[in-house]
Symmetry: D2
Subunit: 496 residues, 4 copies
């Protein structure tokens, strides 16, 4: 009798790497950073970390799991007391200078290096102690690291964030240099990075603007940066503007200031998948509200692929925004017929068909009365591996649906991302080397349509820059930066 039972995993199929925040000038910066990390939890659930400084050294709290598990109340109190020590030291001089904190949510690669690669990364160089929190992925980190090792540098982790730190340190041999700017000029790829120093926070964004990074202003007048505006809302901050591609902004006792380490690329590379899937529906990114974009993607989908049917149902919770758009545009009734089980944690199944099926059904329940003898349109935001999609479609059909029409609010994903999204291995993507018709057959639905690239881009569009705004490489294979063929094999750990 087999005693070790496999677990049923239903991971979120595409994994964004990380959310970052930075705040300066508050009495309880760690607490506020902690609260704002909750709002960015969807960007990374495997670990979280916070740093503050007392103006001399940097203290850090990191842990595994969700923010609420990774960081304790005691951590927050300790970090805020640490930050308060700086304020107290300055208090004698007549001015009270409150402190700052940076924070990080992370999708961490499992395995031996997990703990060592925790973020924020704390380091020490000529410029003093420093903490880095990074969202994105560098494409030349391996090459940069080899060069640095040849010059006698040692590394304690395998993360590309430590490469940035080492480049800052190397630049600082020249005491007068702008260490961060020089370091960022040498790296290539996607990065939205927040750096805590003894007396300020610096926040920067790569010249292509791959990942979002917004600036907010708190009611107190303090400045705040975060991966998404939804984190601003939580703190009651008003949205000021985005950090510009190629810009470094500084948050300090003197407020906000700005400089450039590079010109913004005329061809932007905003990640369109942020709109389709990653970002919070309540966020404003790249100039548009995500929820509205998703509703419009659904409407566009109804335009591209109408179908005679009895009702439109969302795949909960991912397809709901697009489904309401589809329903409104098509005029079909909108009903909820798939009920997610909000309480499912891990389930243990045994490899017999009956029990495996039960373990799957436990995640979703179909309301038979809603779908029985009906022609149903089901809307979802994406299909990555396709395995769970197939299972769900089969459940709907088993509950009595007469026809099942699947509509996906983005094109088929066929290429890897080197800029901060961790799709499955290309060989595991259902759309790699397969036609839509073939995918339809595998998933087992009566019709299937993926939104076209043009359709998608007609909806997700920035007003501020002419020409190309979005990176669509995962759909089209067209990368903004030439990718070294060796990269896939010898990729460093993107630390975020």
């Amino acid at each position: 009798m087999p005693l070790t039972l496999p677990q049923l995993d239903e991971p979120r199929e595409a994994k964004e790497k990380c959310g970052v925040v930075g705040i300066w000038g508050e009495e309880h910066p760690a607490r506020l950073a902690f609260l704002s990390l909750y709002a960015l939890q969807h960007r990374g659930q495997e670990s979280a970390g916070l740093c503050t400084t007392d103006g001399r050294i940097i203290d850090r709290a990191v842990g595994m799991g969700l923010v609420s598990q990774a960081i304790t109340q005691r951590d927050i109190e300790r970090l805020d007391a640490h930050a308060a020590a700086r304020a107290t030291a300055h208090a004698g001089k007549g001015v009270r200078k409150w402190g700052g904190a940076i924070g990080h949510n992370r999708y961490s690669t499992m395995g031996p290096s997990a703990a060592a690669n925790a973020q924020p990364l704390v380091g020490h160089y000529r410029g003093g102690p420093v903490a880095l929190a990074h969202n994105g992925n560098l494409v030349n980190a391996v090459q940069q690291r080899k060069e640095l090792e040849g010059k006698g540098h040692a590394f304690s982790t395998t993360s590309d964030t430590e490469v940035m730190l080492a480049l800052m340190a190397a630049a600082s041999r020249d005491k007068e240099c702008d260490a961060l700017a020089e370091a960022l000029q040498q790296v290539s790829g996607a990065f939205s990075i927040v750096v805590l120093h003894q007396d300020r926070i610096e926040a920067a964004r790569d010249p292509f603007g791959w990942r979002p990074l917004a600036i907010g202003k708190l009611p107190s007048g303090s400045y705040f940066v975060a991966s998404e505006t939804v984190a601003l809302d939580v703190l009651g901050a008003t949205y000021v503007r985005d950090v510009e591609p190629g810009e470094i902004v500084t948050l300090s006792d003197d407020g906000l200031s700005s400089r450039r380490f590079a010109e913004a690329s005329p061809r932007r590379a905003h990640c369109v998948f942020e709109h389709v899937y990653f970002a919070s529906p309540a966020s404003l990114i790249f100039g548009q509200t995500v929820q509205t974009v998703r509703e419009r993607l659904g409407a566009k989908l109804a335009e591209e692929a109408p179908v005679e049917a009895d009702l439109v149902m969302p795949m909960p919770d991912s397809g709901r925004s697009a489904a309401t758009g589809y329903a409104r545009a098509s005029g079909l009734p909108y009903r909820e017929g798939i009920i997610p089980n909000r309480y499912v944690g891990r389930t243990f199944i045994k490899p017999t068909d009956a029990e495996r099926a039960a373990a799957v059904r436990v995640k979703l329940n179909i309301v038979s009365e809603v779908v029985r003898d009906k022609r149903v349109v089901i809307v979802d935001d994406s299909v990555v591996r396709g395995t769970t999609t197939k299972i769900k479609m089969d459940q709907v059909r088993a509950a009595g649906a007469k026809e099942v029409h699947l509509r996906i609010s983005c094109p088929p994903i066929r290429y890897p991302c080197f800029f901060g999204v961790d799709f499955a291995d290309p060989s595991e993507l259902i759309a790699t080397n397969r036609s839509v018709e073939k995918i339809r057959e595998i998933i087992g639905v009566d019709s299937l349509h993926f939104l076209s690239i043009d359709g998608m881009l007609s909806v997700a569009a920035c007003a501020d820059v002419a020409g190309e705004h979005f990176c669509t490489a995962c759909y089209s294979g067209e990368y903004r930066i030439a990718i070294d063929p060796a990269l896939r094999k010898h990729a460093m750990t993107g630390n975020c």
Copy 2:
């Protein structure tokens, strides 16, 4: 400086007490019972338990938390091996008799007696070892217990389930008696109960039919009972019928059999709140599919309280079914503008206004673009204390809504339930001694309407019995059974 920070609690405001399952005749009854408990997780999240028998003794696994936390893979293997020992013992006689299991999800009262009152309750009496899993609440348990103590009985717990066990034991002095039937004839109140014996499972339902209890048949031909049909779906079982009010059904090696311990009451007392709030939308209870009932409650609400507005939004996730019904009936556009944060666990807040507000905002984000300058109708299923409702309405308004109209798909809750629902203390219910207008003022919306009792009952209706079907005591104060005035003060622990 205050160092101990209160936690922000947002409990599900009305707490059902428990879900039960029983299965007989399977090779892995504990595993199947375990999987089916997932589907009933919404009926109790504080502890879970399973029992099997080897034909001689009963083994039990119980734990705190969700099913996935309370029961381990090892527990399941141990319990299934225990059940298999019975089959093996019988195998020599040419017939393989698979075993059975019962399970329980529980909302447990915290405090000293939590562990001792865990369910299923395992006991021993003249009839052998026995395990009881109970959903409901007895109103004469205290009185029965006092009488038994006077006769020299001792009790190890304070639960009403142990009173049922003691009544069975007392009845068994007469060796020929039907112990369970005699015991159930002496208790009064709501109960859907499942009892595991050495060689069978008995399942019974009180004569009023307060709580649901369904019978299913597995593909293997085995029988299965569960609080809701959603648990049947998970196991791939087909719905046979409900256990009748006043009926005891027996699941054994000989299949299903039935007897009565009482006549079904001509005035049923099905809990209407199961339809409004508790039961899974995918379940069929009291003869109707919950999701359909909820959509119709929403439609009825649109009929009773129409309003000129720009859109209808659900309070996620509780108001979604009714909101789609409202939108369809009213013709108003349906949009999602309130985004729940699916990852929020515990948050630690500090009693300053700014931070408390942040801790609240972390739970929900409003999509400003959806609500700004709009007249919005928000639909929810119920209001208990009203505090979190007010906070959410304030958030919507702060995001720019021009008008906020709140529609609730059931009447105001004003009276305690003695039949298995744990509302807040009456003094904490917002509707106690308050007019709807006063409630509207407190919550701070432009208009507020609760569905009328008649409206509600016109939608939730059983076809099988003439006359009254539903208990509406929490709305109307009319109890089917006279309630001893002392009950509120000296209530025993309803164990489920």
Copy 3:
């Protein structure tokens, strides 16, 4: 490759079942009971529990593991606040009546019933709520339980303590009875029991006096009972006297009072193994200090079995007291040559000889220089299974000892105990059906001597009673009470 590795267990080979305490009249009875349980930790390490009463109900905290793990600071504060509620209720009447607490350390049988059988057992009967903590074992519990079941009683656990509770309850049908006395008259076996009521604690000891139970007086004037005097020392209490065999003492607001439920047996049955092995060396039990008795057992051993040797070494820590006695009586030098590793927790070993050996050596290190080329006498207190003894002797020899002479300060253990000691199964005792010479061969030493029964009794002797004082059944097979042959097979769980 085998992936599941066995653990190396070196359990304390004979397991005493339980230590009990009771205290009445203190402001923080739970805290004091908690501290005193530390001193009795050697009597049971698998779980611990405490109870207090507020004069109305009983609150309980129990947990697995050592006292320090099982009971939290928060538990203690909650229990003491519970007890203080009684004092407060009485405060108005001009007299402040502090409360009481009982506590229990337990060796728990693992498995399904572990949690349900936790002690103290809390129950409810006509006399009110009650909590029982028990050290010992009843030999007629199964029979008593069957009789009670026939009379219509139900049981929630399989422990003999619940049988005592049920007998008290049954007796209480007659409201005027002395429930505890009547119950104790019906049970047979070893018991030192402490019972917490709403307004007092009762403590009783079986008529043979198998297990110790001492009365102390705190500096405040309050009374205290505990299994051993070492618990009195911890609280700064002075030793008053033992609870007499057949006596019930009551601790209440009125101080100490006494009554008898039975005459003390003229033939006592004090457990001599308490002196040899179980009790703390610092305790005074059955009229003698344990440490002194052990030194004398060692001296007697030197008298019975002298040997020409170079030095005497104790087996740490169990043989140290007897070894110093042996060294003094023999005139041989006393040296420590076996060094226990105080930090070893669980070790994981793989079934290859080299690694298994390493896992054993990790527990003890031999000081080669002390034993090399020497004739060494090693003194230990007992040999149960003999497996670990053999391993240790082999280590000593491997370190270079020329001759190894093993001396054991009690006779060979050959018979099971039914009175509260859990030896290994008789078939696993090395001395069952084996001569001393055969044991010597197996263990692999040059000479081996077990102290004779007469030698042992010449040292462990009570002055207060003529004739037989000690139960030596585990050595001699002579039981004070006739043992039902079926007992070994159908034994109930001795709950302590």
Copy 4:
């Protein structure tokens, strides 16, 4: 009423920093290293770590607590599989090359940097990946780090071990250099260090030989290094010799080889406190068996400070070796009268005198009968802060001792150690600025004697080197290396 209760701490008063092991050429190197770490558990109990290499990268497992808590069975299996991958890669070439592992037990500084400073430290430099495990303390680490930062290096931790890694990396700019030797030539202080490379282990010891480091040979022919010989015994390895001061030994597929990075200092600085207190009694260090040295320290003490008394008692467990030596030399009877409670974990006490006293008494019990009306000599190995010593002496007196004479088997500790021992702050040492007579008064004994430095050195003596062998700085204030006055204030984290 105060609700938060302080914990009673009785830490081991002087804390050695770390034990290290390294093994090369075994099939299960991680498992063997793990077992040997058990034997060195006394050198560090706060965290433990292991590393293996597959010939390409290094894998690591570290955790908090004792070895048995910090490292799991799964860790060991993963690390051994990792090492086996190297063997497999080589297997095709006809030769099976088993792998290696290094391990570390650590006394970790608590606080923010605890996790980041875990050992072994894994790093990457031009020479490939490397792991360092270090026992000792560098006195010029701060200065070296500042110089490296000035050259553009960054650091991820605050440990002196990372400084060694950075020096290796900096040296490796010259590809042909001996990186480890060059690094060690630049550091000053105490170090016994083990370094894992892709294809070998290097082990080195500072030129003064402060900390022990032994070489063993396993039955299989593999070589093994460890801080103490007691770790050799556990693996069944025979002692080969010590790593020489100034020597680097290499363990590889080719067996053992040796080179020097420096001449051994003619004035050695073996830490005498290893003999007095730290090392296992079963170890052979600096040429002598620790247990024998301790017995002789006791005998010397009897010679220096005889007293007319009735018996000699050890302070368990620390004073036992010296006490047997004292008893033998003085001819006084040796008895155990202080019984340690082996089970005490954390205790929660309340700041009332009665309860605080109870919490202390819980740790030790006095056998009144042994000490009552007696003149007792108590022998212990050292006194650091003196607070717990005083409490214990008071307990002995309270139990009835007529006279209490305390004998300490080393001189008074008056100066800080910069070479790997973490005494309390000098201001907390009882002997700082106090005469022995004053200390006697504080502790409250009838007489007190500390062994003289000359007496101590007459017993602890190496045969192999003429002149000074031992560092006695903590007693005498004479440091072998000049200590920068700033060191005490700006000390880096000694990582071990």
